[in-house]
Amino acid sequence: MLDAPLLTADGLHLRFGETQALNDASLQVHAGEVVALMGPSGSGKSTLLHCLAGILTPDSGQVTYDGRLLSQMSDVERSALRREEFGFVFQFGQLVPELTCLENVALPLRLAGTSRRAAERTASDWLQRLEVTDVADKRPGQASGGQGQRVAVARALVTSPRVVFADEPTGALDSLNGERVMQLLIAAARDTGAAVVLVTHEARVAAYSDREAVVRDGRVREQEPVR
């Protein structure tokens, strides 16, 4: 059974100055599946992720989410989409340094209009689930790298998004912490039915995916799903 894909990139081109970052890149992501984007540095995998998430607009080609063309949405609509339907985990530098970890996790809910109290209650549940309640009232600078990354995962999932974009989520962590973050991320995504687009250059991280797509020279060499 093949559903209509949830998120589709079709023939994306994007150029930064001299660099052709994306050159006819296409990808399909189905609801609930975990797709790893692999490839060497500079191959365009992060750029592809940014295009899929509506952060960057490609020069040509289309990104479709749930039947809607991202290019036809206004910046405000795309922001709302990212706020409500997407979640993000980056390698580092993503937590607001001046907010506490709890406030960081509550932030997306508050941006979407939830009251502070309700948002922080939900955030607290997520911190518990990711086993980082002990840093709830600390600032990110006072938490370890692994804890910070788990806070970031909690923040990405707190709005129950349909797609989580993770760009090298374990890039700054050692193996053990990286493994733990991946296990928690994937388990939580599977529970909530979120699809995950995972950019990584590490095979052991990519092994948490359902399938991988290799990006090389701005083009996707997609493999058949193995299931």
């Binding site: 060497p40 095979a203 052991r204 092994a207 193995v226």
Partner: protein
């Protein structure tokens, strides 16, 4: 690693004498284990029997005068072999290397070879990751050992992919 398929692959670039074939093989793949003449001729005999090569005789007598050429059945066997991933296991490099070189020599896309293999590796890694998350600590440690080896292979695959252009000029020189 299949010597027969490797020899077939070498023949695809043109008919050769048995002696030339051995030399070509040793030069590219036989750094630590050169082939005996006996191995070469017995392998060629088997390939001949299976219809994968044919003999072009030249004036004169004796084995030295025989030139072997690949048949169309042989070509499709090589293609199938190159297109099919190896079972992920340790110490695959020599086979994979041979495949990559042959793909380059015969004008096929070596990236495909590498990507096919990488997909297969990842499939195994996924399997191990799944087992690991369901198993106890002993399972986890065992799976991790295998995972780290596979990851090393994958890194080699990636590195090779990144150096394909360099390799191509080297082998086709």
């Amino acid at each position: 690693m299949s010597v027969g398929l490797t020899l077939l692959g070498l023949l695809q670039s043109g008919p050769r004498h048995g002696y030339d074939l051995k030399r070509a093989y040793d030069e590219r793949f036989g750094h630590d284990r050169p082939l005996h003449y006996g191995q070469v001729y017995s392998t060629l005999a088997r390939l001949l029997k299976n219809g994968l090569v044919e003999v072009e005789s030249e004036p004169g007598d004796g084995p030295e005068r025989k030139r072997y050429a690949i048949t169309s059945a042989g070509v499709s066997d090589v293609a199938a072999w190159l297109g099919e991933p190896e079972k992920p296991e340790p110490y695959l490099q020599s086979t994979l290397y041979a495949k990559v070189v042959l793909a380059l020599l015969t004008g096929r896309d070596a990236t495909d070879v590498l990507d096919t293999q990488r997909a297969e590796h990842l499939r195994s890694m996924r399997e191990l990751t799944r087992r690991k998350s369901e198993g106890d600590l002993a399972d986890q440690l065992i799976c991790d050992h295998a995972l780290f080896h596979l990851e090393a292979d994958l890194r080699w695959l990636e590195l090779t992919a990144a150096r394909l252009d360099q390799l191509a000029t080297h082998v086709t020189r």
